[in-house]
């Protein structure tokens, strides 16, 4: 009976997994021109940072079958156990950190300089239901649009990187856009500089001196996310990047280094914001830019 129930749940989970929203959609110039004010609704479900325990690739290797998914579930379980064991002392050092409060302060400060006025901010731990979303859209006045930001934040599986991924959507009043899809959707990713060699040594560095490194990187992730939110609407009107414009950046995927290719939209010292070829916006460490600056 237990197994049958699990199989039934798995079937539904696999079916649902097949329905994915498009990575990126943009406001039309007409829609963009009509927006005079945004209402920002920030949904932070997490109570604290979670170690990203990446699902194993077993099911992909087995062609995504049910048996593979069951094995995955067991592997994920043991990985979380290991992570939580190692994370204990680190969690003790970040007990007082309040991501929601930091996000609220940062976005209010950041968006105050935005060309479109942001009239109202709301930060909540409550996941957004369809009913709440509809209610918020119905409350909009002419010229207003709803900006929904849903950040998630994690430590990478090797504990070297602080990562965040925010889904940002813009919704119009239901009569201005009858669609159940957002008028704009973007995915914004941040990754910190890698800290330490990995494992417990990295955790000790994050936690040292009242977790000063962790607090700094978390604040940077929020500030960069706010910057990307602001860039996001403008990027919508730019043309697609040509292959010659693409630049590669190192990206920690948790158990190995990978690469993200994209068009650089904003380059600073040690960090760049790019539009990836996967249509996500990234804020990534740019070690090459530091080296170039140092040589000058």
């Amino acid at each position: 009976m237990y197994h049958l129930r699990t199989v039934a749940t798995l079937s539904v989970a696999l079916l649902l997994g097949a329905c994915a929203a498009p990575m990126r959609s943009s406001l039309t110039p007409e829609q963009r021109g009509k927006i005079t004010e945004l209402t920002a609704h920030v949904v932070v479900v997490q109570d604290e940072v979670i170690a990203a325990v990446q699902p194993s690739n077993v099911s992909a290797a087995l062609g995504g079958g049910l048996i593979g998914a069951i094995i995955d579930s067991k592997v994920t379980n043991s990985r979380v156990n290991e992570s939580q064991q190692a994370l204990g002392p680190f969690y003790a050092a970040i007990e007082e950190v309040d991501y929601r409060k930091e996000f609220k302060e940062s976005i209010e400060r950041g968006l105050s300089g935005y060309p479109i006025k942001v009239g109202k901010f709301n930060t909540t731990p409550r996941a957004l239901s369809n009913d709440k979303l509809l209610h918020l859209r119905e409350d909009l006045q002419p010229g207003q649009a709803l900006l929904v930001i849903s950040p998630r934040y994690t430590l990478s599986m090797d504990f070297r990187s602080f990562d965040s991924e925010s889904v940002v959507t813009i919704w119009l009043k239901p009569d201005a856009s009858a669609s159940n899809m957002p008028s704009q959707r973007g995915v914004l990713r941040y990754q910190s500089l890698p800290i330490g060699p990995g494992g417990k040594e990295s955790l000790a560095l994050w936690a040292a001196k009242n977790a000063v490194v962790f607090r700094d990187m978390m604040r940077e992730s929020i500030a960069e996310t706010v910057r990307m939110v602001m860039l996001d609407i403008d990027v919508a009107s730019t043309t697609a990047a040509q292959p010659k414009d693409l630049k590669s950046f190192a990206f920690n995927v948790g158990n190995s280094m990978s690469e993200i290719k994209g068009q650089v939209l904003k380059a600073g010292v040690g960090r760049a914001i790019l539009l990836g070829t996967d249509q996500k916006l990234y804020s990534l460490p740019d070690l090459a830019s530091v080296a170039t600056t140092a040589k000058k």
């Binding site: 049958l4 129930r5 699990t6 039934a8 749940t9 539904v12 997490q46 109570d47």
Partner: protein, 217 residues
């Protein structure tokens, strides 16, 4: 084979029926999310481990303080936010089950400032109680700051983290509470073990992580 197929088909139908019911519930809850009842369950366990005999003194358990940063939710299900009210009664009832480890347990009014003349008085505040999901697993985290007092005053302050994990069977909101119960029930053996020393006036480690594997023997 036919029987199994029929069973799976009917289970799938039942599951979709549940999903429809969940959607209706979420509509009636309007915009606020789904309310969950934080009901303690002493029998909830992912390992089926039985309490061991540890009790050596009387415990006076002060009502737990709900010191979470977020006192609104314990996470989210597919239906939306999982709303839980004050979790003090849940934690207090859970700690009361230290009696299952052989301790004589009484509850104490928080207004009684002085520790009891006999045994150990336990004051706790819950700083985290939340769930999250990875793939088909639900995980829970419970963080507790505890203060153990004997008749001379504070004997020791201690910080515990406990976690539980459970396969998400139906996507039902009660499963998230069950996962938190797994976490709390993983915590109790560690507190019971510490109390063996504390009852004798001896100090213990300042931090323990309590996972499903239980305390080292």
């Amino acid at each position: 084979m036919t029987k199994t197929t029929t069973l799976i088909a009917s289970l799938a139908a039942l599951l979709f029926g549940n999903a429809a019911a969940a959607a209706t519930a979420s509509v009636s809850a309007a915009e606020s999310g789904d309310k969950v009842e934080m009901k303690y369950d002493a029998a909830a366990s992912e390992t089926g481990a039985k309490p061991f005999r540890a009790g050596t003194c009387t415990l006076h358990i002060v009502r737990a303080v709900d010191a979470r940063q977020n006192k609104e939710t314990i996470g989210q299900s597919m239906g939306g936010a999982l709303l839980a009210g004050d979790i003090s009664p849940w934690m207090t009832e859970g700690l009361g089950h230290l009696r299952d480890f052989g301790y004589a347990v009484s509850t104490v009014n928080p207004a009684d400032a002085a520790p009891a003349a006999d045994g150990v008085t336990i004051r706790t505040s819950v700083t985290r109680a939340y769930t999250w999901q990875i793939g088909l697993k639900i995980f829970s985290m419970v963080a507790v700051k505890a203060e153990f007092l004997d008749r001379n005053g504070v004997l020791q302050q201690k910080y515990y983290r406990a976690h539980g994990d459970k396969t998400n069977m139906w996507g039902a909101k009660d499963e998230y509470v069950t996962t938190l119960n797994y976490g709390l029930n993983n915590l109790l053996p560690f507190v019971a073990r510490d109390l063996q020393s504390l009852c004798k006036g001896e100090k213990v480690d300042g931090y323990s992580y309590a996972g499903p594997d239980g305390p080292p023997r």
